[in-house]
């Protein structure tokens, strides 16, 4: 088991390294624009641009620049080109908003998905199932930012039910914190509820036809007990693994659209600004942050699978 974990962690590090190199190359090899020229300002003369280039270390060879940047990320010294602000601090300050959004949305989507999936499976083929399926399909067909815009228009402007966004820290006022996050939570959750409820539904339907379920029924357990104890629990495993992967993606940058529309000062919003200004240091840091979460959750899921299924850790057969 230990070797398996070690191998996985090594793989994780390798992937993160590859990603950092790719990001670095994207911004240094694809011709875009010189950060020194940008910082030097609108009136700059060549002498000033040269000094800024030297100060930022942009005249050094690429590998040296890459290593310096990586080192600065880990020591927390990395500053952005555009505004000379400490990147790691900015990310740290954006974490509460992003985590509040993602974790809240995740709780909401899992709760709703389990409820809808369960009801759908139990009433398969009947009206409830059809209605919930349609809702789910509509949910996964909506662009997240469009849904956010619609909610913003109808529920904050036409009818002033909710505030127009912006993040209130939990420490300032838990009530306001939640009030400002209700719409963003709902927006982010809609897409995933659709996917997860359908996955759960189809898994439950499969499991319900398995032998051991028939055995449980034969043993005299009530239908309800059968469903809850055997069917639901066993159907949840693939859902949990999916959740691990998706949650990683959401924290890693998938929340950028929701944060943009609702003006939540999170890591996603910061990432969007960094990309638009082609500011490599914050972008590198945010991508590493995001990739770290994705890879972390991937690895956790892999390890969990290995714990549950010994065949996997012993031989590298690859289940879907």
């Amino acid at each position: 088991m230990g070797r398996f974990v070690a191998r996985r962690l090594l793989g994780m590090t390798g992937v993160l390294f590859a990603i950092s190199v790719i990001v670095f190359l994207i911004f240094n090899v694809i011709p875009n624009s010189d950060p020194a020229a940008r910082i030097a300002g609108k009136n700059a003369d060549p002498a000033l641009i040269a000094r800024v280039t030297a100060d930022l270390g942009l005249d050094k060879p690429l590998p040296v620049q890459y290593l310096t940047m990586m080192k600065q990320i880990f020591t927390g010294e990395l500053t952005s080109y555009a505004k000379d602000r400490n990147v790691v601090e900015q990310i740290w300050e954006g974490l509460p908003a992003t985590f509040s959004l993602c974790i809240g949305a995740a709780v909401l989507w899992m709760a709703l998905a389990i409820l809808f999936g369960y009801l759908s499976a139990v009433h398969a083929g009947k009206f409830t199932d059809r209605a919930l399926t349609i809702l789910s399909l509509v949910g996964i067909s909506m662009p997240v930012f469009w849904l956010a815009a619609m909610l913003l228009y109808y529920l904050t402007f036409k009818v002033e039910l909710f505030p127009t966004g912006s993040y209130v820290p939990f420490t300032e006022s838990p009530g306001e914190w939640a009030y400002h996050l209700i719409l963003p939570w709902f927006t982010l959750a809609v897409l995933f509820v659709g996917i997860y409820s359908r996955v759960l539904r189809s898994n439950m339907l499969d499991v319900m036809n398995e032998d051991y379920v028939r055995t449980a029924r034969a043993k005299g357990l009530s239908e309800r007990q059968v469903r809850m104890r055997h069917v639901l629990r066993n159907s949840m495993i693939p859902v949990i693994t999916l959740f691990g992967l998706d949650f990683g993606q959401v924290i890693g940058g998938g929340a950028i659209l929701t944060e943009t529309v609702y003006n939540l000062d999170g890591v996603g919003l910061y990432a969007g600004e960094a990309i638009r200004s082609l500011d490599l240091p914050p972008l590198m840091a945010v991508v590493m942050f995001g990739a770290f979460f994705i890879v972390l959750f991937n690895t956790i899921v892999d390890i969990l699978y290995a714990v549950l299924d010994p065949r996997i850790r012993l031989g590298e057969a690859a289940p879907a």
């Binding site: 010189d34 009136n43 700059a44 003369d45 000033l48 602000r85 127009t164």
Partner: protein
């Protein structure tokens, strides 16, 4: 049962009382004084936090507006609205500089016994230190001070000090020697780039997180970049006033909290509901009409010195042909562009904007006249009809680019639109190695109210630079270059200088070097409790925070 009821009633009364107290308490905390002397606490919202909370580095509208009343230079601009506000007056210096006959030596004297907000005395050598910071911290404003003798040597590390600045801390004398006469130098001394700061300020680093102590009516008491900062009355501002600096105006409120809010529309709602006292940015286009209609008693439009135009690369076809350039000037419809701006554009087809010394209205290209434009193009018959149009991706500018692209297509050109991210736009089009920079969006906001700030960087032949060039049309007209240089040696106050600048403006537009279309207007939108008449918008530094007062 009766006892229970009694308890319930008492509980309700107490609850109501507490609630009432809390509600009242909250209100007064926000309300503040309001009595004759002024005082109180207000809050301001802006979309972009100041780039730097550092007088030597800040170079944006937001930064200058916030810092103008915190850091006082040797000279400053009159704290009044309109054209009178473009006049340079003494601030920390006792008088306007004594300029030598050859125009190269400026003598000033620092007022005595002044202190910064932390009690440190203000010394003459602090001015030198400030200028040194410009070079060591790579400030964009350093280019204005290159004209000082020894500046470039200092910047490159060849010298330990700037030889052209000599100061005496005992007498307060400051002598600055320039490499050549420069009529804009007084204007430049009035910018915060040259505001003295104590040597405890880091020489080569941005001090946003720990701003230097203040010399103006306000000081920065707290910074949490890029979200919020707090300004409070400077307890030692008295020392500056007592030293005779009458042109440096005192504040009318005790505290200003500045908050960033990226959502302009939310800011509008907040000001409407009196939760925010002032928003720095103009209301976004689709709220503007509503604000204008519903709140005329606390909203007005303000002039600002800037010009919006389309540059046309005169070095390459088809814009190397005068007729093509004139055709564009005939075809453009400033009214259409005004609608894209939500009605905030003052139409103008000239180089200098109203408010700038040297502005005189004229109309060379009455229009819009698509027929005349097409006729001119037919006469010119350009062989190369492929044009690449550039613009940046801020929503208004993207739409301006789309309008221009469509216009060129209607005129028969084969136009391609390129939209570039806002932060990267200027360096991309200003870089001579970028291919196909034919024409596109441009704007220019003054650095200081002197026409040379427009003509030199934007239209002088020497400003055609390999990178960061601002002469986007690549204009090089020797006669006009000479005139610009000649006028720089004269002071604006001298007779006839403004008229000559106006003539220069017309001369350039006769050559249709640009297709200008207007000047963006800004706005003042205040909450109900603010004194609307007292507060004003300065032509260089935007809203003057010392003019904020609670009614």
């Amino acid at each position: 049962m009766k006892a229970l009821r009694k308890i319930l009633v008492v509980a309700c009364v107490i609850a109501l009382a507490l609630f009432g107290a809390a509600a009242c308490g909250k209100k007064s905390e926000g309300g503040g004084g309001g009595g004759g002397e002024g005082g109180g606490e207000i809050n301001i919202a802006l979309t972009s936090f100041p780039d730097y909370v550092d007088p030597q580095l800040s170079y944006t509208v937001e930064g200058w507006e916030v810092l103008w009343n915190v850091y006082t230079p040797l000279l400053t601009y009159k704290h009044v609205k309109g054209k009178d506000g473009t006049q340079v007056v003494p601030a920390l210096a006792e008088d306007m500089p004594e300029i030598s006959p050859d125009g190269k030596v400026y003598k000033l004297k620092l007022r005595p016994n002044m202190k910064y907000s932390d009690g440190t005395p203000i010394k003459a050598s602090d001015f030198t230190y400030a200028v040194q910071r410009l070079f060591k911290a790579d400030s964009g404003g350093s280019v204005f001070y290159d004209v000082i003798v020894g500046a470039s040597d200092y910047a490159e590390g060849k010298a330990q000090t700037i030889s052209g600045i000599k100061t005496d801390d005992n007498t307060g004398d400051i002598t600055i020697t320039l490499t050549e006469p420069n009529a804009t130098f007084e204007n430049v001394l009035g910018l915060m780039f040259a505001a003295p700061v104590p040597p405890s300020t880091p020489l080569d680093k941005d001090s946003t997180n720990k701003p230097p102590p203040a010399s103006g009516p306000f000081m920065i008491s707290k910074v949490d970049a890029p979200r919020t900062l707090t300004m409070e009355r400077n307890p030692n501002f008295k020392t500056v006033k007592d030293a005779g600096a009458t042109e440096v105006v005192d504040a009318n409120v005790d505290k200003i909290i500045v908050n960033e809010n990226k959502n302009n529309s939310a800011q509008v709602t907040d000001v409407e509901q009196n939760k925010v006292d002032f928003m720095l940015d103009p209301p976004v286009a689709d709220r503007l009409a509503e604000v204008k209609a519903k709140y005329p008693d606390r909203f007005r439009m303000e002039d600002s010195i800037n010009t919006y135009y389309f540059f046309m690369n005169m070095e390459k076809p088809p814009f190397n042909d005068l007729k093509v350039r004139q055709a564009i000037n005939y075809a453009i419809d400033p009214e259409a562009l005004n609608r894209i701006f939500g009605g905030r554009l003052h139409p103008s087809q000239q180089i200098l904007p109203p408010g700038m010394p040297g502005y005189e209205e004229y109309k060379l290209y009455p229009g819009p006249d698509m027929n005349k434009a097409k006729q001119l193009i037919a006469e010119a018959n350009p062989a190369d009809k492929d044009i690449t149009v550039w613009t940046d991706d801020e929503p208004d500018r993207k739409r301006i680019g789309e309008y221009y692209h469509d216009l060129l297509t209607q005129l028969g050109f084969n136009a391609t639109l390129k939209v570039i991210a806002g932060d990267v736009y200027w360096t991309t089009i200003g870089n001579q190695s970028t291919p196909d920079v034919d024409t596109g969006f441009a704007d220019w906001f003054q650095d200081f109210p002197h026409p040379d700030d427009f003509f030199r960087p934007l239209l002088h032949g020497e400003s055609i630079l390999p990178t960061n060039g601002n002469n986007l049309s690549r204009v090089n007209i020797p006669a006009n270059n000479a005139k610009t240089d000649e006028l720089l040696t004269k002071l604006i106050g001298d007779g006839g200088v403004e008229e000559q600048y106006a003539a220069l403006d017309k001369a350039y537009m006769e050559q249709a070097v640009w297709a200008p279309y207007g000047n963006e207007e800004f706005t003042t939108f205040l909450s109900e409790r603010m004194d609307f008449d007292k507060s004003y918008h300065h032509l260089l530094f935007n809203q003057d925070y010392t003019s904020f007062a609670i009614k």
